[in-house]
């Protein structure tokens, strides 16, 4: 690092200080404030900071709705993350075969990323219309026309497993992202490595399973963390597909409803803090690891 004069050091700090101040207040100050609200009795429109300790958290873990939220988050995360990883990897492997029209397919797999979850949700809500009999529509209608009757189902209204179907539009939207980083990862595998293996008599299958896929492990880890933290935060997609249904509830929706519809600020803040904690567990090590790798490079 080059040496800077004292004046320059001050100037540079002054230049970033408005932003630093904004982040300090709006991110960390506000998180602290939410934390304080989560330890208060505040219910109703007027702030009430009466200290109740961990009462709000204790109540949440005994709350039937929050149990549903945790179950839904786990189910959704498992299906969404695994689905987006596998589909993205599959697409990247297909595109890595030197196919014609690669750019076309790549762009096609990627475009849903540019669309709002609300749009995705509203359209998939009609595609996954659970109505039956003469009111059959959406994908169920398509399945019937194609003679695939066994695929006709209740979608997100299926008891217990409903949330799993919300993962389908989420995968539709995000699999392009995993495809893109896997493809970049595949392109980074040196050709010499594959050549050398071929010379040693390895089959194409062996080259993939023994050489290429192990090299993609860091990519998988990044994708896992990014998708995982997104899935903990899932909010607008669920609202747009299904509205506020208890069976499809997740912490982000619960927080929003209990705080702004129900005025249970203490409880809402507690949910928000737990959500933050779960995201931090994934993201903090990721940031630390990424910055260290960058310094070593």
């Amino acid at each position: 690092m080059t040496m800077h004069s004292k004046k320059e050091a001050w100037q540079s700090f002054l230049l970033v200080s408005p932003s630093l101040l904004a982040v300090a207040i709006f991110v960390y100050g506000f998180i602290g404030w939410t934390g304080r609200v989560s330890l208060s009795r505040w219910t109703g429109l007027l702030p009430d900071f009466t200290w109740v300790g961990l009462e709000n958290y204790r109540k949440l873990f005994g709350d039937a709705r929050f149990q549903i939220d945790i179950r839904n988050t786990v189910l959704f995360t498992a299906v969404f993350v695994l689905g987006a990883l596998l589909l993205g990897l599959f697409e990247a492997l297909l595109l890595d075969q030197g196919v014609k029209g690669e750019a076309f397919f790549r762009n096609l797999f990627l475009f849903p990323l540019a669309i709002s979850y609300i749009v995705t949700g509203v359209v998939w809500r009609w595609l996954m219309n659970p109505a039956s009999g003469t009111r059959l529509s959406g994908l169920n209608l398509l399945f019937e026309r194609l003679g695939l009757h066994f695929l006709i189902n209740d979608w997100y209204t299926t008891p217990f497993w409903g949330i799993v179907f919300i993962a389908i539009p989420a995968i539709w939207q995000m699999s392009g992202f995993t495809m893109a980083i896997y493809l970049a990862g595949l392109r980074a595998v040196p050709d010499e490595l594959r050549e050398a293996a071929r010379v040693d008599g390895a089959s194409e299958w062996q080259i993939y399973t023994r050489i290429v896929l192990p090299l993609l492990r860091p990519v998988t880890l990044s994708a896992l963390i990014i998708l995982g933290h997104m899935s903990l935060k899932v909010f607008d997609l669920i609202l747009a597909v299904a509205g506020k249904q208890l069976a499809l509830d997740v912490p982000a929706v619960y927080m929003w409803q209990t705080t702004f519809d129900g005025n249970f600020y203490g409880q809402g803040a507690a949910i928000a803090m737990l959500l933050l904690l779960s995201v931090a567990v994934l993201i903090v090590p990721y940031i630390w690891y990424t910055l260290r790798a960058e310094e070593e490079a």
């Binding site: 709006f26 991110v27 506000f30 669309i115 982000a252 600020y265």
Partner: protein, 273 residues
């Protein structure tokens, strides 16, 4: 050789099947939007329109047009302001690292990933005081402030690639901090500006959470208005489809024309510069 051709055939078959999966929602959205009211029925939702009519688009536009303007009025200043600030921050963090910058930078980065629920209660209180609960100022402010972490990161990574000799040489010539930014860094950062502007535009346009808690119905942007339209039983599904298409169109156009830049913004968001 024969086996090779089989594998090729299967590869293309798989790619085409996958393409259908991605196109399915777009197909339904477009086909429905282009039918006349007389032709619209859930029974025929997969059929092509017999006659192309714009009834649905007109109905959706009439409902959504004020919100279209709200979205534009909010997204443009939000994207521009957060990009300018991010560019200054990135410049300083890349080339003028002050004491403590190593600690501050990861703290800024964490701001990219936080669930916004964790700042929502104070934010709503703050914005209510700021603009008395109406208008778009609070929403713009939220998008600028919470956009800072990613805009800062993108510019910092971009400027990190500028050789420090250039800064040294400019200093020798007596140029100051701001002069160096203005004459060297700003002119070369057009590509980074495109990436960041597109990213912020898309994020703010597609946002729902901030908009729904920080604006009153008259100021709702497109996403909130569309969700509200879809949630009510009054607006027919075909109009919802046309509304969805109108809401998706601006960011889709950006993606179609500037896709590469969009992708780079996305990679930055995953800390994969």
């Amino acid at each position: 050789m024969k086996r090779g051709r089989l594998v090729r055939g299967l590869t293309y078959a798989a790619l085409i099947l996958l393409s259908l999966f991605y196109l399915l929602p777009i197909y339904v959205m477009l086909v429905t939007s282009l039918k006349g009211f007389d032709e619209v029925s859930l029974k025929t939702m997969w059929d092509l329109p017999r006659v192309i009519r714009f009834d649905n688009f007109i109905a959706a536009y009439q409902k959504l047009s004020p919100h279209l303007w709200n979205s534009l009025n909010m997204v443009l200043p939000a994207a521009v302001l957060s990009s300018i600030l991010g560019s200054l921050n990135g410049y300083v963090l890349a080339k003028w690292r002050f004491r403590g910058a190593n600690i501050i930078f990861p703290l800024i980065l964490f701001g990219i990933f936080i669930p916004y629920q964790s700042i929502l209660i104070p934010l709503v209180q703050f914005v209510t005081r700021l603009n008395g609960g109406s208008g778009l100022v609070g929403l713009v402010l939220a998008h600028v402030v919470y956009g800072l972490p990613i805009t800062t990161l993108t510019f910092r990574n971009y400027f990190a690639g500028v050789p420090k000799e250039m800064v040294e040489a400019a200093k020798m010539d007596g140029a100051g901090l701001l002069q160096i930014y203005w004459s060297i860094f700003l002119p070369i950062s057009i590509p980074a500006f495109v990436v960041v502007l597109i990213w912020q535009f898309t994020q703010a346009w597609n946002d729902f959470l901030f908009a729904v808690v920080l604006t009153e119905p008259a100021y709702w942007p497109m996403t909130v208005a569309l969700n509200n339209m879809a949630g009510s039983q009054i607006v027919a599904w075909n109009v919802q489809m046309a509304g969805s298409f109108l809401t998706a169109l601006p960011t889709l156009l950006v993606y179609i024309f500037l896709g590469q830049y969009f992708l780079r913004g996305m990679m930055a968001g995953a800390l994969k510069g």
